[in-house]
C-alpha cells in the first residue's frame, strides 16, 4: 500500500537560526491517525510546513500518496488539507465565501463548492455564521472554520497543527468525535498537539520529535506498554488521619480526603485494593495523577535533553 506520507532525510536550516530538522525519516500509512508530538521548537511545525509547501526544505524528499512534492507538486498538494496553528484566512471575507473559494482553488465547480461548503458549515455548527465576516467569529469558531476549510475539497490527508488550542472542552470533545468519524471514513490524519490526552485518545501511531530529530516512532499501544509505573490519586469518604504503611506500596497524603500511590506495572492494582480494604480505607474514586503519554513524553524528551 502506498504510504500517505514518505519522508526521507528531510532537513531544514533557517537563515540566522538553528537547524530545525536534521535529516528525519518518517512514514505515515494510509488511513492512519498519526500523532506528531514534541516540545516547542522541536521541528513539528517545520515538518508540517514543508509537507504543505509553506516552508522550503534544505534537503531530503517528501512524497504524498506516492507523488513527489518536488516533481509532482500539484498532484501531491491536491491530497492535502491543512489546519494550521495560526488563523490564515481573509478576516474580512464572509465565512461561506472562504470555503467556496478554497474549493475553487482545488478546481471544484462553484455549484458543488457551495453544496460542500453548506455541508461542512452545518457539520461544524457554523451555518448560522455563514454570512458573517470571519473576523467576527470567536476563537473556537475560527478553529472550526479552518477545519471546515481544510475538508471542503475532500482531502485524502488531513494535517492538524494544534487544532484545539484555545477551544473549550465541550467543543474539543465534539471535534474529537468528528475527527474520529472522518478518519473511520478513510481520511488519513496527522495531528500535532500539546494536549497529550488528545493524542492518546485519538491516535494509533505516534512519532516524537525533539531538536529536529525523531526520538520515537511507534504505535500508541506499544508506547503506552512501556510505562513501568503509574501514579494514582485516590479520594476517600472519611478524613484520613493517619495513612497506613503497606508492604508493597508507598502512600503519600495529599489532603484530608486524598492520597497518591505509585504502582509498579508488575504489582497490579488488585493487590493495592486488597491492601486498602484490609486497612479499612474506603475509596470513593480514583484517577491517574498524570496522563500516561505525558509521563512517557517527558521521559523521552528529558532523556534527549540530558544527552545534548
Amino acid at each position: 500500500m502506498i504510504p500517505a506520507i514518505k519522508i526521507q532525510q528531510l532537513a531544514k536550516s533557517y537563515k540566522k537560526g538553528p537547524e530545525a530538522l536534521k535529516g528525519i525519516d518518517l512514514n505515515v500509512q494510509s488511513g492512519d491517525f498519526f500523532a506528531l508530538l514534541g516540545p516547542n521548537g522541536a521541528g513539528k511545525s517545520t515538518t508540517i510546513g514543508i509537507i504543505s509547501s509553506l516552508v522550503n526544505k534544505s534537503s531530503g524528499s517528501v512524497e504524498i500518496f506516492g507523488y513527489d512534492l518536488d516533481s509532482d507538486p500539484e498532484k501531491a498538494k491536491a491530497c492535502i488539507g491543512l489546519v494550521p496553528q495560526e488563523f490564515n484566512f481573509n478576516q474580512f471575507e464572509p465565512v461561506i465565501e472562504i470555503l467556496i473559494n478554497q474549493a475553487g482553488f482545488y478546481g471544484m465547480p462553484r455549484a458543488k463548492a457551495t453544496e460542500r461548503a453548506e455541508h461542512y458549515l452545518k457539520k461544524l455548527h457554523l451555518w448560522d455564521k455563514r454570512k458573517s465576516q470571519a473576523r467576527e467569529l470567536s476563537g473556537g469558531m475560527k478553529r472550526r472554520l479552518m477545519i471546515a476549510r481544510a475538508l471542503v475539497h475532500d482531502p485524502k490527508l488531513l494535517i492538524l497543527d494544534e487544532p484545539t488550542a484555545g477551544v473549550d472542552i465541550e467543543i474539543r470533545r465534539s471535534m474529537w468525535n468528528y475527527l474520529k468519524e472522518i478518519n473511520q471514513a478513510g481520511t488519513t490524519i496527522i495531528l500535532t498537539t500539546h494536549y497529550l490526552e488528545e493524542a492518546e485518545s485519538l491516535c494509533r501511531n505516534i512519532a516524537i520529535i525533539d531538536k529536529g530529530v525523531i526520538v520515537e516512532n511507534t504505535s500508541m499501544s506499544a508506547m503506552l506498554r512501556r510505562l513501568n509505573q503509574e501514579t494514582f490519586v485516590f479520594d476517600t469518604e472519611e478524613v484520613i488521619t493517619d495513612l497506613p504503611k503497606l508492604e508493597d506500596f508507598e502512600l503519600t497524603q495529599l489532603s484530608d480526603h486524598s492520597f497518591e500511590v505509585s504502582v509498579a506495572k508488575e504489582k497490579g492494582i488488585n493487590k493495592l485494593f486488597e491492601a486498602l480494604n484490609q486497612k479499612g480505607i474506603c475509596v470513593l474514586s480514583m484517577r491517574n495523577k498524570q496522563n500516561r503519554l505525558e509521563q512517557l513524553f517527558i521521559d523521552l524528551v528529558g532523556a534527549q535533553g540530558g544527552q545534548s
Binding site: 522550503n56 491536491a78 490564515n88 482553488f105
Partner: protein, 222 residues
C-alpha cells in the same frame, strides 16, 4: 483626475500654445489616462498581494495545487482589470474636456493593456519585498510619480535640452506615454515599433523575475 483636466488642461493649458499641432489639453489627455492606468494597476497588485501576505491568507494559494504562474497571473489580472476600468472611466471624463479621437484602435488597446500588465507586475514585485504598509507606498511616491511626470505626460520631449532628451530615453514610462499618444493622436516623440518592443521587453523581464520570486517563495515561504 478631473482636476488635472481643469487646472492643467483648461486653466493653464489655455495660456499655452499648440504642441505638435494639438491644443495643450488634447496633447496631455493620453498621458493623463495612462497615468491613471499605471497608478491603479500598480496599487491594486501591491496592496492586494501585500495584504494577503500580512494577513497570511496567501497560504491558501500556496497550499493549493495551483502553479506559481497561475497565482502570479491571478494577481496581475486583478491589477489589469482595475487599471483598464479606471482607464476607461478617465477616458470618458476626458471626453468632456477635450476633443478626444482615436487614431489607431489597435495601438491604443495594445499599449493600454501592456502598460497595465507591466505595472501590475511591478506592483506584485513590490508586494513581495514589502515588509510594512509604508513599503507599499514608497515606490509609488518616490519612483513611480517622478517617472510618470518626467515621462512626457505634460510636455513633448522636443522641448527638452538635448542632454535631458538623452536622459529621458532611459525612462520606460516615456515609451508608454508616447506609444499611447500615437494610438490616440497619431503623434509620438519616439519610434513606435521600438517603443512597443521596449514595453514588451520590460514586461517579459518583470514577468520572469516575478515568477522566479514566487518559485523560490521569496516573502511568502520561510
Amino acid at each position: 483626475m478631473a482636476l488635472y483636466f481643469i487646472i492643467f488642461g483648461k486653466l493653464i493649458g489655455s495660456q499655452i500654445g499648440d504642441i505638435e499641432g494639438f491644443r495643450y489639453i488634447d496633447f496631455i489627455v493620453p498621458g493623463l489616462i495612462l497615468m491613471s492606468v499605471i497608478s491603479n494597476s500598480y496599487a491594486n497588485t501591491v496592496s492586494s498581494f501585500y495584504f494577503s501576505r500580512w494577513n497570511k491568507h496567501i497560504d491558501e494559494l500556496l497550499i493549493a495545487p495551483i502553479p506559481n504562474w497561475l497565482i502570479l497571473a491571478g494577481y496581475v489580472a486583478g491589477g489589469v482589470a482595475r487599471g483598464v476600468i479606471v482607464g476607461i472611466v478617465v477616458t470618458i471624463v476626458a471626453s468632456f474636456f477635450s476633443d478626444l479621437s482615436i487614431h489607431s484602435y489597435g495601438i491604443t488597446f495594445l499599449v493600454f493593456v501592456l502598460t497595465s500588465v507591466l505595472f501590475s507586475l511591478a506592483g506584485f514585485i513590490n508586494g513581495v519585498f514589502a515588509n510594512s504598509f509604508d513599503d507599499i507606498s514608497i515606490i509609488p511616491t518616490f519612483v513611480l510619480t517622478p517617472l510618470t511626470y518626467l515621462g512626457g505626460v505634460f510636455y513633448s520631449m522636443s522641448l527638452l535640452p538635448e542632454f535631458w532628451q538623452t536622459v529621458s530615453m532611459a525612462n520606460p514610462v516615456l515609451y508608454m506615454v508616447n506609444a499611447f499618444r500615437y494610438g490616440l493622436l497619431g503623434v509620438s516623440d519616439i519610434d513606435l515599433s521600438s517603443g512597443i518592443a521596449i514595453i514588451l521587453g520590460f514586461t517579459l523581464v518583470l514577468a520572469l523575475y516575478a515568477h522566479s520570486l514566487m518559485k523560490r517563495g521569496v516573502g511568502v515561504k520561510s
